[in-house]
């Protein structure tokens, strides 16, 4: 768990460079409240301390990164409470949680305050660390433009360096790619889930383009917009809530991509990656069982013999 903190810190630095110190404030509040809730829950119920595994820090950073910079400061506190207490500790702590805590918290915030969570400032705007911004120029994120059927203003290079309106921690695609490669090289994550996930989204975008300027543009915009890349690298590969077997991982990524594209195309919300994660999390064990059966029978499925 601790190994993913360093790439997330690089993402935080990029976000601070673009949006000002408010990104740091939100992240700090989120991480601190995650740690405090975990400590308090464990202390009150008289269980072993579990802050040392650093999972609360990672959860807090991910929750903060997936919101707009203009979100009020109590947003990450509510998200942290829901993620740590309800989704993680009530199910038995790290290793027993069925759902991804960070994804559940972001879905809660998105469902409860859809207006605040989907209005993004323009990429050039900078904010002071503590005062909650009330009036600011809103920018049109790429996903909203694609949903409306119009051509996005941003160029692909801007998308790569993260100079677009969107969640402050998840838009720098280049940093995410480098972080993913480093994590792959250190064998902290495997290539199967991100590749299957992004590949499915790319193929679907190629077959059914939303961008009016062409199929390849549609592929580029679908892959680099929203928080798809961030989810594929940092959240879908979460060791607790992702399959272990090869077949399970490939199928997990495939279905994640399918549901994400479905929600993006036909749903109410512009971004569907977090909901896709929550939908696929209960099926992890079933996918793993399928993989184990294939492994044990030499490539043949033998249901009757068991």
């Amino acid at each position: 768990m601790g190994d993913t903190i360093l790439p997330l810190l690089f993402l935080l630095i990029v976000a601070i460079y673009y949006t000002g110190l408010r990104a740091l404030t939100l992240t700090a509040v989120s991480v601190l409240s995650c740690i405090i809730f975990e400590y308090l829950y464990r202390r009150i119920l008289g269980k072993k301390r579990s802050i040392g595994d650093m999972s609360a820090v990672v959860t807090g950073m991910i929750i903060a990164f997936c919101m707009p910079v203009t979100a009020p400061i109590w947003f990450p506190i509510i998200g942290a409470f829901f993620a740590i207490v309800v989704v993680k500790q009530l199910f038995g702590g790290l290793g027993n949680n069925i759902f991804n805590p960070a994804a559940a918290a972001i879905c809660l915030l998105t469902v409860t305050w859809p207006g605040t969570m989907s209005t993004f400032p323009q990429a050039t705007a900078k904010f002071s660390p503590f005062a909650t911004p009330v009036e600011f120029e809103t920018g049109v994120p790429v996903l909203t433009a694609l949903k409306n059927g119009t051509l996005p203003d941003n160029r692909p290079f801007e998308m790569l360096i993260g100079y677009t309106p969107g969640n402050f921690g998840t838009s720098a695609i280049l940093v995410i790619i480098i972080a993913g490669l480093v994590l792959l090289y250190r064998r902290i994550i495997s290539w199967k889930i991100p590749l299957a996930y992004l590949g499915t989204v790319a193929v679907l975008a190629l077959l059914f383009p939303r961008c009016p300027s062409g199929r390849l543009d549609s592929v580029v915009f679908e892959l680099t917009s929203g928080s798809l890349a961030f989810v594929a690298v940092f959240m879908a590969t979460d060791p607790v809530t992702s399959p272990v077997t090869t077949l399970g991982r490939l199928l997990y990524g495939f279905f994640l991509g399918l549901i994400t594209v479905f929600i993006r195309y036909f749903g109410i919300y512009p971004e569907g990656a977090f909901f896709a994660l929550l939908i696929m999390n209960p099926f992890v064990l079933a996918l793993d069982r399928l993989g184990w059966k294939l492994k044990s029978k030499g490539g043949r499925i033998a249901y009757e013999q068991e």
Partner: protein, 370 residues
């Protein structure tokens, strides 16, 4: 099992085989252990008895330690693995002091089992009549050897008390509302709560329709249930549910069209909830219409209790209103998740945990009466 036995017989010192035997003995003796803890050792049937009959070195050692260890085992309810093995091997020991007790209890269990099987044999699906008295007397004579008149007198003494106890258990409003609440403890009929009980008005309408449906279904079905063969009962009860819910649905739409349309499909779906359909299956022939209808009414009240609690909380949390009127201080803070089924699931889980903790509910404690 037989392979294990041979192995153990050939080389007695083989430790893994002995461990396997212990495991098997535990596995087979496990259902019998509960009774042994309560009263005394019951003969372990089948495989466990075979294991006990073929003593290995360990079990011989265990037998010698049986008599001092048994008292401890009775005192301390927490049975460790060693104690379990000892108790399982205890009935095979001819020198133990409990043989007389065991024999009498064995006879008692045998008698009960024979009666049970005889009742199954004598039960006739086609006629739906009680078995003839002569046959029953003969069977009793064969089983007990005692004259039938004495048994009859005993039954006559015991029967009304048992029936009264059962009725008291069933017709208990407090149990239906709290101890065995259909929603919070049995988790029955939770679908309308999760789907439609968003506001207090919806909750009141849902609970009214639920109470009426349950009572009317009982009044319709209980008199005719005994004439229907077992396999046709689900079909008949579904038909009756349809018959009951259609006029209720129409009435609800006539009196409160907006609330009924808010409840959407969950209003007619009440008729096929488990509370309405399966609740009457637990009554035998003895129970007649007024009692079952009263019990169904209590069940419906339990549902209404849960529905009103959950709908009030959901309305306050999600909209800041109560009965569509804004509350003074809370009306601005809105937490929309409570209006969705996901939030309702969390609320239901919290209440289920609370009720189970408060009323000391254990799984299987009250399963015979829904």
């Amino acid at each position: 099992m037989s392979k294990n036995k041979k192995k153990a017989a050939s080389n007695k010192k083989a430790a893994p085989a002995a461990r396997k035997k212990e495991k098997n003995a535990k596995m087979t003796a496990a259902p019998a252990m509960k009774e042994t803890n309560k009263a005394a050792a019951v003969p372990a049937k089948g495989k466990a008895a075979q294991v006990a009959a073929a003593p290995t070195n360990e079990q011989k050692a265990a037998k010698t330690a049986v008599e001092p260890a048994e008292e401890k085992a009775v005192k301390a309810a927490a049975a460790t693995e060693d104690v379990k093995v000892q108790e399982a091997s205890a009935p095979a020991n001819p020198n133990s002091a409990q043989t007389e007790k065991e024999n009498t209890e064995r006879a008692g269990f045998k008698l009960a089992g024979n009666k049970f099987f005889a009742s199954i044999k004598n039960f006739n699906f086609k006629r739906h009549k009680a078995p003839k008295p002569e046959k029953a007397e003969k069977a009793e004579k064969q089983e007990t050897g005692a004259p039938a008149e004495l048994n009859k007198a005993k039954k006559a003494e015991n029967a009304p008390a048992e029936e009264l106890e059962k009725e008291n258990q069933l017709l208990n409003l407090k149990k239906r509302l709290l101890d065995l609440n259909p929603v919070f403890i049995k988790i029955v009929a939770a679908v309308p709560l999760l789907g439609a009980a968003v506001s207090l008005k919806n909750g009141i309408l849902l609970s009214c329709v639920m109470i009426l449906t349950v009572v009317l279904l009982n009044l319709l079905l209980i008199p005719i249930y005994r004439f229907i063969p077992n396999r046709y009962r689900p079909a008949v009860s579904f038909l009756a549910a349809g018959v009951v819910i259609t006029p209720l649905y129409a009435i609800a739409h006539y009196f409160s069209p907006s609330i009924a349309s808010n409840c959407s499909i969950y209003l007619p779906l009440i008729a096929v909830s488990a509370l309405a359909l399966c609740e009457k299956q637990h009554f035998g022939k003895k129970y007649v219409v007024p009692k079952t209808a009263l019990d169904a009414f209590f069940n419906g009240l339990g549902f209404a209790f849960a529905a009103i609690i959950i709908s009030v909380l959901r309305e306050i949390i999600a909209n800041g209103t109560l009965y569509d009127r804004p509350l003074p201080y809370i009306s601005e803070a809105k937490f929309k998740l409570a209006a969705y089924p996901a939030g309702a699931f969390i609320l239901l889980a919290v209440f289920a945990a609370l009720f189970r903790k408060i009323f000391n509910y254990n799984e299987g404690k009250g399963d015979d009466m829904l």
